[in-house]
């Protein structure tokens, strides 16, 4: 029986490899199809975008001009929730009716369910019951955590902004105007993103000063300090790359000056300038590059560094001052 399974296994593997190789050969050797069976660009069927006044979703979800709250959705949610609560009451009564057992509250039921499968309580108990001494519950030990709080705020508002932002020179400025004027709560989200960036930088510097003054960078905490410096650099780079994205005069010329200064570093200056600008001048390549850095590279590096930073703090604990 085992040899049958082995045979089938080898057949599946070899057929997969053959098919994959055939697909690879086809991709690189197939010729263009004949002209008569392919449409030219101006012959392709055109699907025009729906005008905003005809789009049924626009007025509630983007514009905010539709203001009647008593809609079918709201009725479904309200009466549906009442119905679910009623049905739950029936289920609860029925489940304890015959056996006369006490009803276990839902949070406890959930904990029991997870414990039976993952032994979650045994894992979490030492972590959650760790004592926090009173001297650690002072406001200056909150600064790092607050920086992280504003990082989360930036992540959420940044994702919301990236739903409407268009990272090309032709459309960037207009998309920011669209966010501010047309999108529901767009100006609020942008305001939060703008000021949380400043708050994060201020709090990161305050946290750095607290750690420096208390000498909490000394051994055994040197590597934690280095990860902290990396995080500070990431925060400033977030600000630098994000500043270009509106593609207005201020952003464009501040970036030109900033990258010019980076270019005056001896030895690596030219490399730094061309790397940042995606060329010798600030162009659409620069905007794409800064957007990719701001949205993909910097978040990944920051999250990794934060993970290490938090693990080290958790493992080593706070340094007790004299």
């Amino acid at each position: 029986m085992k040899s049958l399974y082995r045979t089938i296994f080898f057949i599946i593997i070899s057929v997969s490899i053959l098919l994959f190789s055939a697909a690879a050969v086809h991709t690189y050797t197939a010729e263009e199809p004949e002209m008569s069976s392919r449409l030219e660009t101006d012959q392709l069927p055109v699907t025009a975008p729906i005008k905003p006044e005809d789009d049924t979703c626009f007025q509630c979800h983007v514009d905010g001009s539709f203001s009647n709250i008593w809609t079918a959705t709201v009725r479904w949610i309200l009466f549906g929730a009442a119905g679910v609560a009623f049905l739950f009451g029936i289920a609860r009564s029925a489940s304890v009716w015959k056996t006369r057992e006490a009803w276990i509250p839902i949070p406890q039921r959930l904990t029991n369910y997870l414990d039976d499968r993952f032994q979650l309580t045994d894992f979490l108990k030492p972590i959650l019951s760790k004592p926090v001494p009173d001297w650690q519950r002072r406001w200056w030990y909150c600064l790092g955590g607050l920086t992280f709080f504003f990082f989360i705020v930036q992540g959420i508002t940044g994702i919301m902004l990236s739903f409407y932002y268009k990272p090309t020179p032709a459309e960037a400025f207009a998309s920011i105007q669209f966010i501010e004027n047309e999108v529901l709560l767009g100006s609020a989200i942008r305001m939060i993103h703008h000021w949380s960036a400043n708050a994060m930088i201020v709090l990161a510097i305050a946290h750095l000063l607290r750690v420096f003054i208390m000498g909490a960078y000394k051994p055994p905490r040197e590597l934690n300090w280095i990860s902290g410096v990396v995080l500070l650099m990431m925060t400033l780079l977030f600000g630098f790359t994000g500043y270009l994205l509106p593609w207005d005069q201020r952003a464009y010329w501040a970036t030109t000056v900033g990258t010019e200064i980076a270019g005056s570093i001896p030895v690596i200056g030219d490399l730094a300038l061309v790397f940042l600008r995606g060329g010798w001048n600030v162009t659409s390549l620069t905007l794409s590059r800064f957007f990719a850095l701001h949205v993909l590279v910097l978040p990944l590096v920051t999250v990794t560094s934060m993970g290490m930073h938090f693990i080290m703090v958790r493992k080593q604990g706070l340094m007790k001052p004299l």
Binding site: I127, L128, S129, K130, P131, V132, P133, D134, W135, R137, C142, G145, F149, F150, P169, F173, Q177, E180, L185, S187, A188, I189, R190, M191, I192, H194, W195, S196, I201, L209, F212, I213, G215, Y217, K218, P219, R221, E222, W225, I226, V229, L236, Y243, P246, W247, D248, Q249, R250, Y252, W253, A254, G258, I261, S264, I265, P266, G269, G317, P321, L322
Partner: protein, 131 residues
């Protein structure tokens, strides 16, 4: 790390966790207030970028103003490498100052040094803003 018997403390969950949750909630309310403010006084946009038209006053964001102001007196090469060297110095500082504190004096020295550096940077930032 084990807790010494003479230290007063609270368990992480639920006591300290609820304290942190309240702090986070407070700052969350602050964030929502900033958002409401944004509905009435939006951030706004300037004029669209024009590569052919250099404005007279070009300034970076406020957190780089102190560097920008410094560059007006220091030649460009030094002005660009000095921050890099400063950051590297900051990164390796624990290896240069690695003895644990023996007196309160070292603590006070660090307070004064931080205060001096902070005041210089703030002064340069304000100067960069007004000039």
């Amino acid at each position: 790390m084990s807790e010494k018997q003479e230290e007063n403390g609270v368990p992480f969950y639920p006591d300290h966790f609820t304290l942190e949750a309240k702090v986070a909630l407070g700052f969350g309310i602050l964030v929502v207030l900033i958002g409401i403010l944004g509905l009435f006084f939006p951030v706004g946009v300037g004029t669209p970028a024009d590569p052919m038209d250099t404005p007279i006053h070009v300034k970076p964001e406020w957190y780089f103003l102190f560097l920008y102001q410094l560059l007006r007196f220091i030649p460009k090469t030094i002005g660009a490498t000095a921050p890099v060297i400063a950051i590297l110095l900051l990164a390796v500082w624990p290896f240069l100052d690695s003895k644990p504190d023996s007196t309160k004096k070292q603590f006070r020295v660090r307070v004064w040094v931080s205060a001096a550096v902070l005041i210089i940077i703030i002064a340069l930032t304000i100067w960069g803003e007004v000039s």
